[in-house]
């Protein structure tokens, strides 16, 4: 007969490994670091634009229109004599603000709807997913432009239009992840531990599905900034004279042969921001994916 001797199992070693891995997170995740530097610089410039921009972005100077880059105007002036660099800085404020804020509503709303549909299933799931299919069937820009027409141009209608269109992606991602997570034994165990559905969704399933949504949100910010710029370019975005990258491209394109920087630099800014945010998304997916933590 064997006596039950409790074996106290040590795992100091695995602990140390865990620490070193968490240190690795910061300075060994190249994409994340690069993305954060790029986005960080643009955000800092946008935040401090009122302090560091050399000129008033909407003040016209009709005596010095369409100037080439010089020491007074680093990126030249546009057709109304406004400083392009200052407009670029102030434009970042508008574009980034809308880009980041527009993600919030669909992120929260879509995630909640998707989580409920995935967790409870049944008729609610069927109805929600058919609605999602309908939204997915429409081309993104067509529906956003149509909605902006309906709501009228302006910042609020851009938020609304983007929210209406893009919550479906969040709903779909979260639903899929929740369906996978809810079959895991730890969810059954939580249920048998007497926990409510709400608690299980928020505390047990939520943290396990959130990383995928956050990663998607990074690319969604890029989509939103592109959408705002596109709307601005089409004249449906923020009303002039408020500086905005899309309308700057629109204004600059008629002088593309002589003053190429007017349209190109705002376009490049969109590319740089997209790159930065995509890198952050890549880095986060490395960091947050549960299988990498094993």
């Amino acid at each position: 007969m064997t006596t039950p001797t409790a074996v106290l199992v040590k795992f100091k070693q695995s602990r140390r490994a865990a620490n070193s891995r968490s240190l690795k997170r910061w300075y060994q995740n190249g994409p994340l670091l690069a993305g954060m530097i790029i986005v960080g610089i643009v955000v800092v410039v946008a935040v401090f634009a009122p302090l560091i921009s050399p000129y008033d972005p909407i003040k016209q100077d009709l005596l010095s229109t369409l100037q080439s880059p010089s020491s007074a105007h680093w990126l030249g002036t546009d057709k109304l004599g406004r400083d392009v660099l200052s407009r670029l800085m102030w434009g970042a404020r508008v574009d980034l603000r809308i880009g980041f804020l527009a993600v919030l509503i669909p992120f929260v709303f879509g995630s909640i709807i998707g989580a409920l549909a995935g967790y409870f299933g049944g008729w609610f799931d069927v109805v929600v997913m058919r609605i999602v299919d309908v939204f997915f069937a429409f081309p993104f820009y067509v529906i956003v432009i149509a909605l902006v027409f309906v709501f009228g141009s302006g910042e609020t209608s851009i938020y609304l239009a983007i929210a209406v269109v893009s919550w479906v992606a969040y709903a779909k991602i979260v639903r899929g992840e929740v369906i996978v997570a809810k079959t895991q034994d730890y969810v059954t165990a939580a249920r048998l531990g007497g926990m409510s559905h709400m608690r299980i969704l928020v505390r047990h399933i939520g943290p396990n599905v959130l990383s995928q949504v956050i990663i998607y949100a990074m690319s969604d910010i890029v989509m939103d900034i592109m959408a705002i710029v596109t709307l601005g370019y089409l004249g449906l975005g923020i009303a002039p004279p408020t500086p905005e990258w899309g309308s700057m491209i629109l204004d600059g394109q008629e002088f593309i042969t002589t003053q190429w920087q007017q349209a190109t630099i705002p376009g490049l800014m969109v590319v740089v921001m997209s790159l930065g945010l995509s890198w952050i998304g890549d880095g986060l997916s490395d960091l947050l994916s549960p299988d990498r933590r094993k």
Binding site: P4, A6, V9, K10, S14, Q184, A189, G194, R203, P207
Partner: protein, 336 residues
């Protein structure tokens, strides 16, 4: 009071409808659904403070029964009693607390985002097992109980090995102070060397905490040293129940005999008559009469027509074989 079984099920039936109506139309079936019988009337008692082993091959309905016992799924019909009282359909926090389960796969049964401390504290607080300020001390006590150190508190499940994870799963089950523990193949996913330590832990829990344990497994060798009683399951029905010693010395069902004989050993050739031939029949299409007769070396005509219930063999020994009295004497290498 001690005669009242900790857990009792009677006439549990669980069927599933498989195949959509459309595929059946194409196949020209009359019925709109095909019925899969996972459990075909199961009666079982788990006595207080015992380890009862439930064995059977894959697909025999062991895990379905486990899920019904913890009320993770509902039976199609049948009744469930905890401590002699019929379990109401509505789930209460206290009733779920009293019966806990340890799953087979220790990798899927622990939430990768919760530290051990958070996992245990949540349960201790939710069920008010101890006052809030004693939560940490109680968590440490639980960890020590399952053979882990205090330093495990701040770790995530990914930092543990399979065996350690299974210990954590047991600690979680114990946290709410259950009367009954269902262990659904808790060692099948573990290395042989680790299996022994987990089995030893289960034995010590039964002995020291008086826990009633239903141990589900397919390995008879494991069960022989662990349990007081064994129930053998075949295709959704319990075919033999007996005290462990009895069952191994004098099995009264041909299927049990075949299971015992099929445990690999080095000394002796397996007698041919005990090797079961073929696959178990599909649960979609159960044979008429005794469900084991197509594979049974002792089957007679009566077996093809009569579906035998569990019959009394001797005290604490029941068998669902029509010919249990006529079976030749069983001499197993194990019994010597």
């Amino acid at each position: 009071m001690s005669d009242v079984p900790a857990l009792k099920v009677s006439a549990i039936v669980k069927t599933y409808h498989v195949g959509t109506a459309l595929t059946n139309i194409f196949k020209g079936r009359k019925n709109r659904h095909t019925t899969l019988t996972a459990l075909a009337g199961v009666d079982l008692e788990l006595r207080r403070g015992e380890i009862l082993a439930l064995v059977g091959e894959s697909g025999s309905g062991k895990s379905t029964l486990a899920k019904i016992l913890v009320r993770s799924i509902r039976p199609t019909s049948g009744e469930l009693f905890y401590g002699g009282r019929l379990v109401p359909a509505k789930r209460t926090k206290d009733a779920t607390r009293r019966i806990q389960i340890v799953f087979q796969d220790p990798y899927s049964s622990l939430n990768p985002r919760l530290t051990v401390k958070a996992m245990l504290a949540e349960l201790l607080i939710l069920h008010k097992i101890v006052p809030r300020r004693e939560v940490r001390a109680e968590s440490i006590r639980l960890l020590n109980r399952v053979g882990l150190e205090e330093s495990a508190l701040d770790a995530y499940p990914s930092q543990f090995s399979g065996g350690q994870r299974q210990r954590l799963a047991i600690a979680r089950a114990l946290a709410v102070r259950p009367d009954i523990l269902i262990a659904d193949e808790p060692v099948s996913a573990l290395d042989v060397s680790v299996q022994a330590t987990i089995l030893e832990l289960l034995t010590s829990l039964q002995r020291e905490l008086g826990l009633s344990i239903l141990f589900i497994g397919h390995n008879l060798a494991v069960v022989q040293h662990l349990s007081q009683r064994v129930a053998v399951m075949y295709l959704g029905r319990i075919v033999e129940v007996a005290n462990t010693e009895d069952l191994f010395a004098n099995p009264r069902h041909p299927y049990t005999r075949a299971l015992i004989e099929s445990v690999p050993r080095m000394t002796e050739r397996v007698e041919d008559e005990f090797v079961i031939k073929g696959e178990p029949p599909s649960p979609l299409n159960l044979p008429q009469g005794c469900r084991f007769h197509p594979r049974c070396p002792y089957a007679v005509d009566a077996c093809r027509t009569t579906d035998p219930p569990l019959m009394h063999v001797e005290d604490w020994h029941e068998s669902a074989c029509l010919r249990f009295e006529e079976l030749p004497a069983f001499s197993s290498v194990r019994a010597r």
